[in-house]
């Protein structure tokens, strides 16, 4: 059997494509968590982004409005979370769960009239270069702009956290809100901003699913990707570059499952579908076993409310 080298390229490209929503949502959540806030509402924000992007695209037929609208929708829904956890000092875990339940419900409500409508085609870049270079061509070219942005994002995030002043402030707020506050930093404001940013990235991740990856609207179409994104942040030990690696592994598991079925491997399809979830658990166990390492890399105030008496 001759394996076409371009076929391998296509498989790698499809793995990367399925990693895109995970990278986007994880990088967003990473910033939120670095500021000390644990937002378990990623799944809810993603699904809101998915329906908003798809609906705006169908109604306005404008890519820009749809993509930015989805991000704005993510920001708006995360504002509820920010207001509750930062202004009203509610429990992060419970509020995040409420956000997910609420988001899934609202998205289905909005999406009622958009079920069964075929999605519009999303333009891709460098289409012509795809066939010129073997192997690398399909990997590097012919993708949407969101795809390229996603693969740049971990590096941008890493640079932002390590090299910029605002990044330093975010880390300070997450590691020691008391000292940051004493330095005159408005902890609440920084956390608000980080939560809204996380919302925007989750919204974009959702829009990628409904507008580019599988251009249609299906109720509950995020299918747990938001939760895997949350697990990826732990997997990465809050290091954006490692998110890239993790997302590729999970993307790979998703794609392999299709190809194993295609070549007739006799494993029940349900087992293959369950694989990413099982692997997530195993990876979490391996990562967390060393409690000292986890404690060193976890933002110290993660999930704890901060309230300045005035």
């Amino acid at each position: 059997m001759i394996i076409d080298i371009n076929f391998i390229g296509l498989i790698i490209a499809s793995i990367m494509a399925s990693a895109v929503p995970l990278i986007l949502a994880s990088c967003g959540e990473l910033i939120t968590e670095r500021s000390g806030v644990l937002n378990l509402g990623v799944e809810g924000m993603m699904i809101i982004g998915a329906i908003s992007g798809f609906a705006l695209m169908t109604v306005t037929e404008s890519l820009i409005i749809a993509v930015f609208g989805a991000m704005l929708a993510g920001v708006l829904i995360s504002t509820i979370f920010a207001f509750l956890t930062q202004t009203l000092i509610t429990n992060h875990v419970a509020t995040g769960l409420a956000l997910t339940i609420f988001g899934i419900g609202i998205s289905a409500m909005i999406g009622k009239n958009f079920v069964g409508i075929p999605g519009k085609e999303f333009p891709v870049l460098f289409e012509g270069l795809k066939d010129i270079i073997p192997l690398l061509g399909p990997i590097l070219f012919g993708h949407s702009i969101v795809f390229y942005f996603a693969f740049a994002l971990p590096f941008i995030t890493s640079y932002f956290l390590k090299k910029t002043k605002i990044g330093l402030i975010v880390r300070a707020v997450g590691d020691s809100p008391e000292s940051a506050s004493n330095q005159g930093i408005n902890v609440r404001l920084v956390r608000y901003a980080c939560i809204l940013y996380g919302g925007a990235m989750s919204g974009l991740a959702g829009a990628y699913l409904s507008m580019i990856y599988t251009p249609q609207w299906i109720e509950n179409m995020t299918g747990g990707r938001g939760w895997i994104a949350l697990a990826l942040v732990v997997f990465s030990t809050w290091n954006p570059i490692k998110i890239l690696i993790g997302a590729m592994i999970f993307g790979g598991l998703t794609i392999i499952q299709f190809h194993m079925q295609a070549i007739g491997v006799r494993i029940p399809v349900q087992f293959l579908t369950a694989l990413p979830y099982i692997v997530t658990i195993i990876v979490l166990v391996v990562i967390s076993r060393d409690s000292r390492k986890i404690r060193l890399s976890t933002p110290s105030s993660l999930g704890k409310s901060f309230h300045k008496d005035n």
Binding site: L97, A98, A108
Partner: protein, 354 residues
């Protein structure tokens, strides 16, 4: 002028008043949403909250839906009181249903008084086994229980799917994804002729009584309370933290497993793909709305059960998608958490001194 002042002590009266306030605010916000969608708000709310329970049949359906919610929420309150975030009750319910369903299928052409107790016990054990995974990983491998218990929900649903499509599917079932019907001996008895409410409600009530006793009359209940307030204090007092974590997970897994048994040996009578409309997740809201108090949870499960029925009625009469129920559930939790602010802070009116 109004000033926000911190209370010296959280107010106990407000502790039990805020859930009522949260429900009221949810109704107001829900009416607003219906209005935006172009429905008459009061009529829509009537279809959602009053029409479904206006007759005998509706009331039986309400109890039918409230039973698993109450049972699971009681179990979860053990976890939440002691600061353990088990959010995978849906998976424990599913796995309990799988184990008990498997036992029930073994007896499918037999009758006997001993079958039902075995099936029920199997469900509780199934739920406990499944809950023990996040518990053991948390205690011995330091793994986050939120993510593990949640990932296991997806896994359990896929196991169920595999079984009802493959090895356990009804040989005479024309390839429908479902098992055989259980024998009558493996089904919970119905309480009234013509209504679906079944004996499972007694399991829920028993759980309420037992949990009340454990919370307020035993040393374990006291330990849980202390650990919930401060893990450091609990450690200082010399409580065996690991043992307690595993115990509360087992209790909550058993309750979720029993809820699964109640569904498949009650209204369903077999295994198929959709044995639970996310009762395991909704029960989290019930537990909070009931303030982790056994009696509070009874009321909360009734209130939240209405959102299920209301969503069904609204779908039939007004073509509103059934997911509206989830919107209401999410809002109840939002408003409840928000109104907790009143527990710790109060508004003080200060006379305008110039």
């Amino acid at each position: 002028m109004i000033k926000i002042v911190k209370r010296d002590q959280p107010s106990r009266a407000i502790f039990f008043f805020t859930p009522v306030l949260a429900i009221f605010l949810t109704l107001v916000a829900g009416g607003l949403i219906f209005f935006i969608l172009g429905f008459k708000p009061f009529e829509a709310l009537k279809f959602f909250f009053i029409v479904p329970i206006a007759d005998k049949y509706g009331f039986s359906e309400l109890l039918l839906k409230a039973t698993p919610l109450c049972l699971i929420a009681i179990g979860l309150s053990f976890c939440f009181k002691s600061n353990n975030w088990n959010i995978g009750a849906e998976g424990q319910l599913t796995f309990g249903a799988i184990v008990s369903g498997g036992i029930a299928l073994l007896f499918y052409e037999q009758e006997g008084f001993y079958i039902l107790p075995i099936v029920i016990l199997a469900g509780a054990i199934g739920g406990m086994l499944y809950a023990s995974i996040p518990a053991i990983l948390k205690t011995y491998f330091n793994t986050n229980e939120i993510l593990v218990s949640l990932m296991l929900v997806y896994v359990s649903k896929l196991i169920l799917d595999y079984l009802v499509v493959g090895p356990w599917s009804n040989p005479e079932g024309f390839n429908f994804p479902e098992t055989r019907q259980f024998s009558d001996s493996a089904k919970l008895p119905l309480l009234f002729e013509g209504l679906r409410i079944h004996a499972g409600i007694f399991l829920a009530l028993a759980a309420v009584v037992i949990s009340w006793f454990v919370f307020y009359k035993t040393y374990l209940g006291f330990q849980m309370k202390v650990s919930g307030f401060s893990l450091k204090t609990a450690k200082y007092a010399g409580y065996k933290g690991k043992k307690m974590i595993i115990l509360v997970f087992l209790i909550s897994g058993a309750c979720a497993g029993l809820a699964g048994v109640g569904e498949i040996t009650g209204p369903i009578g077999q295994l198929h793909r959709e044995i639970s409309p996310d009762y395991g997740f909704t029960a989290i809201i019930v537990a909070f709305l009931g303030r982790l108090h056994p009696v509070g949870i009874i009321f909360a499960s009734l209130v939240v059960a209405i959102t299920y029925l209301g969503a069904e009625t609204a779908q039939i009469f007004m073509q509103i998608p059934k997911y509206t129920g989830q919107v209401f559930q999410g809002m109840i939790l939002f408003f409840l958490l928000a109104s907790d602010y009143l527990l710790f802070f109060k508004f003080k009116f200060i006379g305008s001194k110039k």
